[in-house]
């Protein structure tokens, strides 16, 4: 059984990798507009936590996520097989746990703790806040964490690797066309995402599959479902009570004792394979397991959800008023956006000029790691709508390209103290030349100046707010590069230009 499990883990991990890396801009086919080779949606259709939570928060539902019903039904029959056989994050943890055990990290014996309940409380916490329109699943859902970890942390590292001088051209081309899709990956929050991701992995050296056993809310959801699952591990009378199965159970499900917790069992089958007398079997077994969630724990998780939410909501300034809150084109209003966005980072991965970034606090605490555009890192490409194409939940709408070109994400302003024609009476025009709208949102106001007794014409750029879409290319290309003389703020955002 264990062998099949391994094959399944590897297969699903490979599928995950393929879907993830295939969600990349197509750089070879110049015949059409911006397109992706594949999407990342398919990663999340096995994830009822994201589905339910996003529905609770946003009251929107996309049909494709109905697929997760299959996983719910399967779990009701088979138990928590997802964690042991499918989940790519679980497989990563499993791999590192294996390494940790080979390196003899687990000196202490596998003693039982009650901390496994944490993940259920976390699950309640998340679902409870979702009712109030706050979608926390992005921070705690394992699939969102891996996608984000790979996209925001691993890809920037790979892009550094790609830049190494001595790398052969063929490898560089492979990375450029199939893995990275662009040369530069800079994210202000990459270190934080990376730290979080690595921390969860490092915890495996303390306890095998730490995340899965103690924290994972998706595991919790599948655990609750598998409480009544039709198939379970059953111990028969030939058991010698040697306890070896309990010792090797990574999931702390105690298959060798009266209090076997089927909700914890990830069907890893280490126990079945270890048992010297074959006393354990995976069969039809309808005794429901005890998950002894305390009432106190339930109450305190709900109360803390309430308290947490109030704390979030009394944050001092209204995040919507933050001038740098430039949302991707297709993100309508802030409230719906926060309810729908699962912080997976897909949009940032495909944004061809590195415009989209994980937010720090620009969108408030609750908008941490949601995408915002930052014109000092890049700009929004006029003919691109990739973020809308990849967004798995529709937080960024998939706009038709003609609508995308009219979608306002912000408005440009000129800093006359720094803009070269205003400040020094010299001509510049870089912003005007790059402004992609037609007619251009930047125009010139000509005036004559006297210099060394000679008259000549200086053209001062001006922004027409009726035409500006806030793409930020003017800021990005402004030759006053340290603190650009033209900048974009979020004052006017959402909706199409008429």
């Amino acid at each position: 059984m264990k062998r099949f499990r391994l094959i399944s883990q590897i297969t699903f991990f490979v599928i995950f990798i393929l879907i993830f890396f295939n969600a990349i801009i197509d750089l070879n086919d110049f015949s059409g507009g911006f397109s992706l080779k594949g999407g990342i949606k398919y990663i999340f259709i096995v994830d009822p936590l994201i589905t339910i939570n996003t529905f609770l928060a946003s009251h929107r539902f996309e049909l494709i996520y109905g697929f997760s019903i299959i996983f719910i039904l399967l779990t009701l029959v088979l138990g928590r097989f997802f964690c042991g056989w499918v989940c790519p994050f679980g497989t990563i943890h499993h791999f590192f746990s294996f390494i940790a055990s080979k390196l003899n990290f687990y000196k202490k014996d596998n003693k039982q703790t009650n901390f496994y309940r944490l993940k259920y409380y976390l699950l309640f916490f998340i679902l409870f806040t979702a009712i109030f329109g706050i979608n926390l699943s992005g921070y705690f859902d394992p699939l969102s964490i891996v996608v984000k970890g790979f996209g925001i942390f691993l890809l920037p590292i790979l892009s550094l690797f790609y830049k190494l001088e001595f790398l052969p051209d063929s490898i560089k081309d492979f990375l450029f066309y199939n893995i990275l899709g662009r040369e530069d990956y800079y994210y202000g929050q990459a270190f934080a995402v990376g730290f979080f991701f690595l921390l969860l992995i490092v915890l495996n050296f303390y306890k095998s599959r730490f995340w899965c056993v103690y924290l994972c809310p998706l595991g919790g959801l599948y655990g609750l479902l598998s409480k009544y699952s039709l198939f379970k591990i059953r111990r028969d009378d030939s058991c010698l009570n040697c306890g070896i199965c309990n010792k090797y159970c990574i999931a702390q499900a105690e298959p060798g004792s009266e209090s076997f917790k089927s909700s914890e069992c990830m069907l890893l089958f280490d126990c079945v394979d270890r048992c010297s007398v074959r006393a354990l079997d995976y069969t039809f077994y309808n005794k429901s397991s005890k998950i002894d969630l305390t009432r106190r724990g339930m109450v305190s998780s709900s109360v803390s959800a309430l308290v947490g939410m109030s704390l979030i909501n009394v944050s001092l300034i209204k995040p919507e008023k933050n001038p740098s809150l430039l949302r991707p084109p297709g993100a309508e209003n802030e409230k719906d956006f926060l309810a729908l966005c699962i912080r997976c980072g897909g949009c940032m991965k495909v944004c061809p000029e590195n415009f989209l970034q994980p937010a720090f606090l620009q969108a408030g605490i609750i908008g941490y790691w949601t995408p915002i555009g930052n014109p000092s890192f890049g700009y929004c490409v006029y003919n691109c709508n990739l973020c809308g194409q990849i967004c798995p939940t529709g937080a960024i709408k998939n706009l038709a390209i003609e609508d995308k070109k009219r979608f306002v994400i912000g408005t440009a302003f000129i800093d006359k103290n720094r803009c070269l024609p205003y400040a020094y009476n010299v001509n510049c025009m870089v912003c005007e030349e790059h402004c992609p709208t037609s007619p251009k949102a930047i125009f010139f106001y000509e005036h004559t100046v006297l210099k060394n007794g000679k008259e000549y014409i200086v053209k001062n750029p001006m922004v027409n707010p009726e035409l500006c879409i806030g793409c930020g290319i003017c800021t990005y290309k402004c030759p006053v590069s340290d603190m650009p003389a033209i900048y974009v703020t979020s004052i006017k955002k959402g909706g199409l230009l008429t």
Binding site: L27, F30, S31, E183, I473
Partner: protein
């Protein structure tokens, strides 16, 4: 827009200026072939034919790199990029002359994927079996430009590695250098912080044109941009001329195209700089101009 009367006056002044023979440019005259046809492929092939035929420039087994102006995310009709039909025709001719491989690339100002798609040049070039690629950092190499202003600078090395190079610019008005035609087209073959070059733009253009020595320059005047350049974006800036200029003297070609753009070539500093330093001829009396309309 320039009104008609001014245009006439202006045109007259230019042609007078241009017909003053310049002693500095003395001696041999530069050959210039201008072909006009509403079939732009035909215009391109005729212009080359008038200059002596493609076999004069491309030999069997040559690897050829073509440098179109492919800088802006605009469709062909806006004249912000070279006419894709013209590029495609040249590729076809190169293969006909026995070229081993033809490569087309450029370092655009807008997002490369966007430019490569909208300009339609890659699409048509690929149909003619040319190699088209988006430049990555590894395609640049620091080279010694050997100028007074430009020393070491990252260059798209393909244009220095191949056997033959063909420059196919489009004639446009330019907000900072007045015009961008053949000489300025080489700005697209370098990397680095190009904004920096604006500090001494004309010198930089001159030095780059000296550094890149194409075997043939074909100036696309099938439609030219008289205003709002270099990126344009309005059809009202564009005039259809249906002409192609073929030459080996980029200065002469630029000077003639300047007239089309209603600019006196003597007012364009990089052109006078180039003429004074012997890169080519600016005065029409030093050119052999052939013109044919099909």
């Amino acid at each position: 827009m320039i009104n008609r009367r001014n245009f006439l006056k202006f045109g007259f002044a230019t042609s007078v200026a241009m017909s003053i023979p310049s002693l500095a440019e003395g001696g041999i005259k530069s050959n210039l072939a201008i072909a006009e046809s509403t079939d732009h492929r035909k215009a391109a092939s005729t212009a080359i034919e008038m200059l002596g035929g493609i076999d004069k420039f491309i030999k069997k087994g040559d690897v050829v790199a073509i440098k179109p102006n492919m800088a802006w995310a605009r469709e062909p009709q806006y004249a912000a990029n070279t006419n894709p039909e013209v590029v495609a025709e040249v590729i076809k001719l190169c293969y006909k002359a026995g070229a081993k491989k033809v490569i087309v690339t450029d370092n655009p100002c807008d997002n490369a994927r966007s430019v490569f798609n909208l300009s339609k040049i890659p699409l048509l070039a690929q149909k003619e079996n040319a190699d088209v690629f988006i430049p990555q950092r590894r395609h640049y190499e620091n080279m010694d430009i050997g100028g007074k202003f430009l020393g070491q600078w990252p260059v798209l090395k393909i244009f220095k590695e191949v056997d033959k190079v063909i420059n196919i610019p489009v004639a446009k008005n330019h907000s900072s250098s007045k015009v961008t035609i053949g000489m300025k087209n080489w700005m697209g073959a370098i990397g680095g912080n190009r904004g920096f070059l604006h500090q001494n733009l004309h010198q930089a253009i001159f030095e780059l044109a000296t550094f890149f020595k194409p075997n043939l320059t074909l100036i696309d005047c099938t439609r030219i941009m008289l205003q709002g350049g270099p990126s344009g974006g309005s059809l009202s800036y564009v005039r259809k001329l249906n002409r192609i200029i073929a030459t080996t003297d980029v200065v002469a070609g630029d000077a003639v195209a300047c007239e089309y753009l209603e600019i006196n070539p003597y007012d364009v500093r990089y052109l006078t700089l180039a003429a004074d330093n012997g890169l080519g001829r600016i005065s029409k009396s030093n050119m052999n101009i052939q013109y044919e309309k099909i």
